[in-house]
Symmetry: C2
Subunit: 471 residues, 2 copies
Amino acid sequence: MTLNAADEAFATRLSTLVPQDGLRPPEARYAQDPRGRREGQVGVLALPRDVHQVSTLVKAAAEARVPVLPYGGGTGLVGGQVAWDGPAPLVISLERMSAIRGVYPTENVLVAEAGAVLADVQAAAEAEDRLFPLSLAAEGSCRIGGNLSTNAGGVNVLRYGNARDLCLGLEAVLPNGEIWNGLTRLRKDNTGYDLRNLLVGAEGTLGIITAAALKLSPVPVGQGTAMIVVPSAAAALDLLAVARAIVGDGVSAFELIHRQGLEFLTEVLPDVRQPFAEPPEWCVLIELGLGAGLDPAQMLEQLFEQAAEQGLALDGVIAQSQAQRQELWTVREHIPEANRLIGSIASHDISVPISLIPDFVEEAGKRIAAKGEFRVNAFGHAGDGNLHYNIFPPKGQSRDAFKPMAGDLTRIVHDLVHQMGGSISAEHGIGRLKAADLERYGDPTKLAAMRAIKAALDPLGIMNPGAVLRA
Amino acid sequence: MTLNAADEAFATRLSTLVPQDGLRPPEARYAQDPRGRREGQVGVLALPRDVHQVSTLVKAAAEARVPVLPYGGGTGLVGGQVAWDGPAPLVISLERMSAIRGVYPTENVLVAEAGAVLADVQAAAEAEDRLFPLSLAAEGSCRIGGNLSTNAGGVNVLRYGNARDLCLGLEAVLPNGEIWNGLTRLRKDNTGYDLRNLLVGAEGTLGIITAAALKLSPVPVGQGTAMIVVPSAAAALDLLAVARAIVGDGVSAFELIHRQGLEFLTEVLPDVRQPFAEPPEWCVLIELGLGAGLDPAQMLEQLFEQAAEQGLALDGVIAQSQAQRQELWTVREHIPEANRLIGSIASHDISVPISLIPDFVEEAGKRIAAKGEFRVNAFGHAGDGNLHYNIFPPKGQSRDAFKPMAGDLTRIVHDLVHQMGGSISAEHGIGRLKAADLERYGDPTKLAAMRAIKAALDPLGIMNPGAVLRA
């Protein structure tokens, strides 16, 4: 199906259908990739105020065969929101639909419009003494519609699940412009196919999420945080098992940190205070969230003692105050920024079955080393089997000289992940950046089913063309 | 599309494709509805031993335009497994594919074939000191493939989610006979559309689940159970909030029980020992599952005291032993059997937003009473907003005289549920029994999308025709 660019004539047509202030000339910031890889295109920019305007816009785009790019906070890392090929799209930004429509503390439910910034959703829950547990680096600017469309992960997946697991219902506009009123606040609803989860993670290729009913949790009465030095990546997993034997699913975060990440901090962000004089080869940041009657610091001490006895803990710091907790998290949260300042040759968002993490780290390290001298920073959500595996040039050298090798390095990493039954996109999605890799590694039956579903729901192919599935 | 019955010629054709012992003449038990509503049909019965045989069978059915009925434990309550209309199908029973393929304690994952009985899955997890939390009345005979296909609920949804939430990956045969190898053990995998959740809850209309990777949890260190008398259904919800404020998500079950259910027990199952001399109007069964360092009985006492102070608890029994815990659960678990012995005129599996449960109970009671004298037993998973709302004749009268009113009564209940933003099928699914109601109450945009997806994945319409979506 040939699509047409969202040109001036189309803009004129739209101006007869939606309020004048809902349309704007293309703005450069909607065309930017946060990692600066490639520039996208914006034909017409629309900023609807309600679901009916979104419906009107999509119907007009369908009629004119114009591609539609749903736009949230623009923080996606795989180019799902950057139209770097095909005709210039109608960009529909949800930013004006940012209301919290309601909070229902008795039900542990919050209903937010798609344009609500994640941090605002968290704050609205907190105001009612509830927790919205989705938490990730971009939470100050990413929007909940984008979080759902990409099935965002983050640091609390271990305990609370990813964005998909936190969504009870959706309001959305399908590719034909029809509105789906699926904004239920129900915990149980077995009435037909799971359209909700089909839209969640579809990265805007099957419709536009306009609002969501979200699951809240009780705020843990006590939280405790520790950083524990472990002798190996394998020991980290054993430590997690010990922690779970003690506090059940009270472990809310379990982040693996490699020496390389700490050395990067020392190199480019020396103001970040580090807990250990010598950066250890491996350490983990563990957080507990517990109910009443338990002292998290005491539980962490018990954990540390038990782990030390079993040779799973070599050293450790247990936060004794809110300030110390924050300090430990600051270390973890600044690693991506340090990576950015150092400049990676190739970065990967992978997962493997949790028990294979140690094997993966060892084998990937070997295969990368066979290609030359590199620095590798493997870190992330070990409790979910999800590592960010980033490859950097040797100290003092610029990445530019190594960039031609990026494709080969990625192939080595992704081949190994695939071989281990893992995923080449654990939490960032496919977007445009990984569409070719999805074809390479994806199950053929699943890919065929995906294409059939796409053709069934979006026969004109107008919704975010080029993302997830290539033409 | 006209379909053909699975006749002798088709059986002969199949006998050239799969081993002889994999085919059997139609057997009556595969045609029975557990509630005895209607008899189904079995054309040919196949009992494959592996996914390749399932694939072969489905391909042959597609070629011959023969309907396929996937068969698990046969315990479904909405006729999804009973072909009571259309040509006689090829029934594919998964009972011989019942292996536990692996347990991965470090990963908290278990891989089971679709025919594994739920209780066997639970036991395999327990053998590795892990919990597979899905638990429901039929667990001794239902099979995990059916649990997933119907997105089964049960008593632990409050804490652990329904079957959908416990599934990480699937192996399945799609309607074209192709095998989808989606049996990942990954906690995070954002590689394309969520085919897993599309098959989960599709009740066998989009393919046949042949195996699943399932999520395990730590076994709670301590469990405590209490039955608490509350002054009203509204007070029950407040009690749940108090419990959560104390133990966070340590509340693993929260079941509402009405006086009518206890009176039924007295009437038809007098051997079931009841905790209260006089059956209270409302009581709740609450179960806590806690980590180390907490005494569940003590937490329940604290809860009871706090609730009593706020007027939310009038009386209560806290189990002091495993035997007493079992006794309290026995009361809850025998209510469905008592219902069956009394004989309902109409039964409903509904959910509403949790905070609306008291309004629903009151308003539904009024509307039913306006139709005549009935006994109503409303009970179930209040923490999930899910009630089983069953209507019975007055004491001493047979239901037969009232059966002609069943449709009207159901309409009254479902109309109210719909009006309150609820679901006419919370945990049992649509099957054949509720397909017309799905058309009546379902969102038109969602229904159209469902039909498009069905046509895309099953263009011949061979997979469980008549279930979920009517022709």
